[in-house]
Amino acid sequence: MLLQTAVSATAAAHPLVGTLASYVWLVPLLPLLGFVINGVASLFPAYIAGPTDPSQDAEAGHMHPGDAGYGHPPVAPFYARLSTVVGPLVVALSFLLTLGILAAWLAASPAAPYIQTYGAWMPAGDMRIDWAFQVDQLAITMMLVITGIGTLIHIFSIGYMRGDPGYSRYFAYLNLFIFFMLVLVLGASYPVMFVGWEGVGLCSYLLISFWYSDEVNANAGKKAFIMNRVGDFGFLVAMFLMFANFGALDFAGVDAAVLSAGQGSAVITVICLFLFLGCAGKSAQMPLYLWLPDAMAGPTPVSALIHAATMVTAGVYLVARSSMLFALAPAASLLVALIGALTAFLAATVGLKQWDIKKVLAYSTISQLGYMFVAVGVGAYTAGVFHLVTHAFFKALLFLGAGSVIWALHAAYHHTHREDDAQDMRNMGALRHRMRWTWVLMWVATLAIAGIPFFSGFFSKDQVLESVAARALGSPIAEVSLLGLPGSGVLWFIYALSLASAFLTAVYMTRLMIYTFHGPSRVGAAEEPQVREAPWVMTLPLLVLGVLSAFGGWLNLPELFPMGRLHVLDAWLEPVVGAARDRLSGVDIHLSHNTELALVAAAVAAAVLGMLVAKVFVKPEVLVPKAQAARSRGFGGVLERAYSVDQGVDRVLIRPTVTFSRKLLWRGLDNGLIDGLLVNGSAVVARGFAWAGSRVQSGNVGSYAWIFVAGALVVLGVLTFR
């Protein structure tokens, strides 16, 4: 009621008023409603103890033959069934509404973004921050990814989380995440975006630590939140700078204000660097990437949704959303691209030697996010968003596929009462015979991420690589110098790193597939027959994602492959990022046909070569199960331990800070110096008060207190009423 009046009053002129788009507030509100319902449901037991078989119960441990109810499926009472319906349904409804908004947008094709204001949030001094949403092409794209993939992963979760005592709590958190993620992409100003930004961080924390009884999981969640906060610090400082220099914090106001600023202005460069610190935290870029591998402690669908498809791409979205700022700071943009390329490369090398199937995918995600930052860094914003979208398809598929495998192994272990690592690839092998669907679909995703023509990842990765090369050949961003290095040289270096990463991606993904699905089985003789494909509620989302991973490239076909409408996504996002792109890359950046062909050939060669190398060098035959495996030595060991950065940070930063705070600040200054000097040192005073203290202890002090209070009142009264 209140909402609608406010809406009609503020946005009367926009062509989208009166269409479905005017209900955009419902898109985040529905998941919020789901959160409330599931949150209430979570207060009641999700699965009835007694004749249950909590196959996923990491807390209670496994049941044993002879236990009451052993071997029976878990019994879902009303509240669990409620969550099964409400959890996915609210997100699906949001998705449908987003489709409606897309249709309304296409029908009206408005020239300006549609801004809905719901009221003042922080009116203070000369600052005015409203609760407002902004609908435009970029926001709609993100909304489709969030709600679309979100729906699929919610459905998958029904199967994956079945039998978990925290079933409703899980859906509550997941719904809350979708809400905050939608606020993040819909917010019309940096502070409103920041609400979503920190909100998704909170949900990520809650979901990583979902099985909180295990200290490892709790540690991982905490680490993610704190590292994200380091990034959020950058976001905050960027906002202070923006308000101090532009007097505005909403996107429209900032864009209007920066247009008058010159190219390469120092203030804007600093703002962009602080914003990028925020991106590095949220999107796991160097130096703040350390939390993402640990985040795999959460349930696997969470990894798919939050730590692959949506939240971690928020940084890419932020750069694209702030493209006007970054376009005016070419040096900062170049740095973004460079850090992206370095992250992509280093994470890919670590991915080569991980044994945990989810860890491989985690480093792969860090690496692919690096690609996206390469793209948005060189001003190829559409390429960045394109890769964001295709990556959401194939990486969600990979994670859910891995989830299926883990689920199946877990079920098999459960059957034989074996306690082992269901995520370690050394305990897998030959699963293709037992999990046909998962096997085929994960291969689709692997071919997509490796960049094999004509899978989705091929097109998006190629567009990223091509954009870098095109900028390196001649553009405004190639003119700037970064730390004394010429821009074009840096860009070629970025290109080389990206190409090398493409090669490495093909290697580690093929390795993952070979170890998991091919070669001899290391599952165990007793467990092997128990491994079977997950139920349809889990496989069906995989199938949808498989189709998207295969054909997602049709969203943005280049001229080289005229297999349908060309440049759909380019044209769609042009109004949002076109002007900024032109500033960084020049207006005319078309490459010759031959150059383009050569670039595509190089990318495809890297991918194919990578797969061949993996086929030749990866030998599943010599692998032994995890329990019997020896510790890796040499450079392989360095990679397996991810260059030991974590241990280094712990030793150099965290432990010294804690020791400094405890020994010097608390024990030394507080207890020693200040108390010693001011309190215990003043012996005379203390002795006087010791007497008073003894009276206090004597128990008569109630009367003393009264004597004092009464005395004070008498004095007051006498003075007043003379």
Binding site: F240, A686, F708
Partner: protein, 522 residues
Amino acid sequence: MQDLLVSVNFFAWALPALLVVPLVGALLIRLFGRTALPDREPGFAPWREVRNLAFGTLVVELLIALLLWLGFDPAGPAYQAVADFPWIPEWGARLRFGVDGISLAMVLLTAVVMPAAVLGGWTSVTTKIRSYYALLLVLTTGLMGVFLSLDLLLFYVMWELMLVPLYFLIGIWGAARRVRASLKYFLFTFPASLLMLVAIIATYVAAGSQSFDVEYLIANTDMTVLGQAWLFGAFFLAFAVKSALVPMHTWLPDAQHEAPIAAAVALGVKVGAYGLLRFALPLFPAGAMDSTVRTVIIVLSVVTIVYGALVAMVQPDLKRLTSYSSISHVGFVFLGIFALTVTGVQGSVTTMVSSGLATCALFLMLGMLHERRGTGMIANFGGLAKAVPMYATLFTLFVLSSIGLPGTVGFVGEFLVLVGSYATYPLATVVGATGVVLAAAYALWAFQRVFFEPLANPENAKMPDLNRRELGVVGLLAILIIWLGIAPGNMLRRIEPAAERLVQGVTTAAGMAGAQGTPEAP
């Protein structure tokens, strides 16, 4: 609403009522029963009546404060609901009370947290129950008086009326090391407030020994910059000690650790920062605006933010941890005040409110933990989220507000402080903003060790979750924290005119006094 209030002459009696109602309650409690009540279990019938009386009194207080809030006109005169009675004509001291947006926010905060503290700690006190509740009510009057007084001498009397009951509350109803804690509290605050008394008299004399009225003193104090700086220093010291600004903070963790719940909550009400806003800054603008003075204070503020957070991180006890986190908040409050921008001052007052609410809620919850397990040491817990899920959920929310998550009032305060202070002290602001990282570190680390990890201790596994009374109290506080986080507009609009007047008054007065008004970044 306004008309209705005017028709019952509400604005004439509201402020005196706020001061008298708790005193009447205290008197009734003191007179209750002929003989001393024996120390009994909480269910003892006469005890219930004493508690009901105290709680009822504070609810009446809350209703008056709420009406005052609703009736306050942000566009109206500076001080509203002014009540003025003669007091000591020879000295020109009067019983003069009034509210502006800043004091109104603090009055409402006090009126909310005091009944919450009584209800939340309903069964926590088991000895000398009449004295306890009566002193609590006297303390409420003292707090209200501090926020309402417009006469400097009256303010001092109220200040003492607030300090002394706290001393007894800690010393008598505190935990094991209560005597040491109350002595420490006294040792810090009493000399500081004596110093303030001297400064008050000096100010009075400097203004011609005519009146203690604040507005009169502001208009008529004729002093050199140096003199202002000295007097400002004296006031600042008193207020900084009471606010627990580093390095004058070590009494607070001890006091709050030992204090009974309600006293710990009352210690979380930021009277010191309020005193700066109402008296120290407007009275001695040139002293406060002196660039050296300001630089020192800004550095202390930033140090307090970081220091408080770092020391909070290594506390083995939850109550001390909460104390140190509120010390860290004080750094934000001081940063916002001495940035002297309207946004910064609004942020500071909001932070005072948010910190007061968070301190109240967290100490109530820690009190409930103490009642159940008799300890607040982090090492004794683990896995509580499984044992007491409702308790854990609400605790999470208060922690999140305390570390400034957007959507809670904690964020609004911190954000406005930092936006406001960036305009004058960019570097200090950036350093202060690292507090958000450190806050996450101390809060989540402690949270993990208490609520996550295995539920190893069977004592913890048997713990009952929140009962209806407890859920009601902390639930309402939770709603308030979220509501003020999403829609702080009503509060900010009331604070804004007062903040504007303060900033404008201080800067112009300092300019006239010939002080160097342009600050330099430290």
